[in-house]
C-alpha cells in the first residue's frame, strides 16, 4: 500500500532532462518511426526488384520533395538510433558508467551524428 502512495513526479515539461536522457528518448522515438517504416521499405524493395518499369517508378517517386523529406527523416532516425544504440551497447559492457563519462559520451553521439548527417546530406542527398 505504501508503495502506491509514493509521490511520483514525471512531468516531462518540468523535468530538466540531461543530454543522455534526451538522446535516449530520441532513441525510442526513432525506433518507433522506423518500425512504422518497415512495410514502406518492403514495398519499395518489391517495386525495385520486380521489373525495370517498377524500378524506374521508385526512382521517380524518390524525387518528390515529400518523399525526400521522409527519406531524410528515416535516414536521420537510422543514424541516431544506430549511434545511440552503439553507446548503449558500450554501457552494457560497463563503459561510460560514471556521471562525467555518461555526459561526455552522450555529447560525442550528438557530435558524430551531426557530422554524419552533414556528410550524408551534402555527399549523397544533394
Amino acid at each position: 500500500m505504501a508503495s502506491t502512495s509514493r509521490p511520483i513526479y514525471l512531468n516531462l515539461f518540468k523535468i530538466k532532462l540531461p543530454i543522455s536522457g534526451i538522446i535516449s528518448i530520441f532513441h525510442r522515438l526513432t525506433g518507433v518511426l522506423m518500425f512504422l517504416a518497415i512495410p514502406v521499405s518492403l514495398y519499395l524493395l518489391q517495386l525495385s526488384v520486380e521489373s525495370i518499369s517498377s524500378y524506374e517508378s521508385v526512382v521517380s517517386l524518390m524525387l518528390y520533395p515529400l518523399s525526400r523529406f521522409f527519406i531524410l527523416l528515416v535516414t536521420w532516425s537510422f543514424v541516431h538510433h544506430f549511434l545511440t544504440g552503439i553507446r548503449f551497447l558500450l554501457i552494457d559492457i560497463d563503459l561510460f558508467l560514471d556521471k562525467e563519462s555518461v555526459r561526455r559520451s552522450a555529447w560525442a553521439v550528438v557530435f558524430v551524428e551531426f557530422v554524419l548527417m552533414v556528410v550524408i546530406v551534402v555527399g549523397v542527398f544533394l
Binding site: 525510442r28 525506433g31 518507433v32 522506423m34 518500425f35 518497415i38 512495410p39 518492403l42 524493395l45 518489391q46 525495385s48 526488384v49 520486380e50 525495370i52 524500378y55 524506374e56 544506430f82 544504440g85 552503439i86 551497447l89 552494457d92
Partner: protein
C-alpha cells in the same frame, strides 16, 4: 538465478544480439555500395538476387523484426497501462511484424523466380 529473474533476460539478450547483426549488416552494405555501383536496375536486381545477399537480407529482416518486437513491446509496456488495450496493441504489433516477414519471403521468392 531464479526463473523470475531470467524472464527479462531473454528479450534483453535478443535485443543486443540482433543489434550486433544490424550493425554488421549496415557496415557490409555501406562498404559494398561505396565500392560497387548498384544504381541501375540490372546491377541492383543482381545484387539483391545473389545467394549470399539474399541470406543476409533475410537475416537482416529477421533481426529487424525481432529487434522491433522487443523495442515496441517495451514501449507499450511502459506507456499503455490498461490490460486489454495493451494486449490488443501487442497483438496488432505481432501481426504487423509477422505479416512483414511473410511479405519479405514473398519478395525473395519473386526474385528467385
Amino acid at each position: 538465478m531464479s526463473m523470475v529473474a531470467l524472464e527479462g533476460l531473454r528479450p534483453w539478450l535478443l535485443q543486443r544480439l540482433t543489434a550486433l547483426y544490424l550493425l554488421f549488416y549496415t557496415a557490409y552494405v555501406v562498404v559494398y555500395w561505396s565500392f560497387f555501383n548498384v544504381i541501375s536496375y540490372k546491377s541492383w536486381q543482381q545484387w539483391v538476387a545473389a545467394d549470399l545477399n539474399q541470406i543476409m537480407l533475410g537475416l537482416f529482416y529477421l533481426a529487424v523484426l525481432i529487434h522491433a518486437w522487443v523495442g515496441v513491446r517495451d514501449v507499450l509496456l511502459d506507456y499503455i497501462k490498461p490490460f486489454m488495450l495493451r494486449l490488443l496493441l501487442l497483438f496488432a504489433v505481432a501481426i504487423f511484424l509477422i505479416g512483414s516477414g511473410f511479405w519479405l519471403i514473398k519478395i525473395l521468392m519473386m526474385v528467385n523466380a
